[in-house]
Symmetry: C2
Subunit: 139 residues, 2 copies
């Protein structure tokens, strides 16, 4: 029996200012939760690291967990979404471009929990590049 | 700039009783934290799901995060350890065999945050099998 799917999402070229704004990053996570009808158990945990650091958020879900970390000093952010129950693929590229002004988003998928499905082939990598048409000043 | 390493750890053939015992699973996480001198921010979050479910634990770390989920109904457990700062490899096989009576432990490693390092080759898979010499009744 498979124990579900984990998405490893890495965003580059984001606005440092947005990566430091805990409400902006929280908004991304809330959009993931809402779009995939995830059920949050208890209160999500958020932490703002001292300058020049970013923020970390952790959501305990009935479906497993959602985690995010931002790194304003390099314009990057990482997300983990682990769902032990089936969920469709979230449109990380569009949301991270729109919310954080990400220029490059990488989404990898890993099957969890079953030896038969754990090998190099179970990890799919997708690369999406944006034309950076949006202006950061628009935010 | 790389944003660190994530270890995806999947254990099979564990004792269902141990997977339901939140103190046992918490003990595994505390051993990870101690062995790698990780710095926990705030209080770890733990949740026990109703029978026949298992437990979930989330640790917000200065070095990123540690997450675990157990599935007693299938004898499995999954762990994520994401360290944005360098840490040595934890001996997951020995600890999960000793603590949860795991018979098979799979450890995968994923580089995070840098497009140049994100591809299939960045994911290393290791399989370790145990002889199951330990008796569950020994616990």
């Amino acid at each position: 029996m498979n124990l579900g799917t984990e998405w490893l999402v890495d965003a580059e070229g984001c606005s440092a200012e947005l990566l430091r704004d805990i409400e902006t990053v929280r908004g991304v996570c809330e959009e993931v939760v809402s779009a995939l009808t995830l059920r949050v158990v208890g209160e999500p945990v958020w932490h703002q690291f001292p300058q020049p650091g970013g923020v970390t958020g952790l959501y305990l879900l009935t479906e497993s967990h959602l985690a995010c970390h931002t790194f304003p000093e390099t314009g990057k952010a990482t997300f983990n979404l682990y769902c032990c129950r089936p969920r469709p693929r979230f449109d990380w590229e569009a949301v991270l471009q729109g919310s954080l002004n990400a220029k490059l988003v990488t989404v990898r998928t890993a099957a969890r929990g079953s030896e038969a499905t754990i090998d190099q082939a179970s990890l799919e990598s997708e690369l999406s590049t944006f034309s950076a048409a949006r202006e950061v000043s628009g935010r």
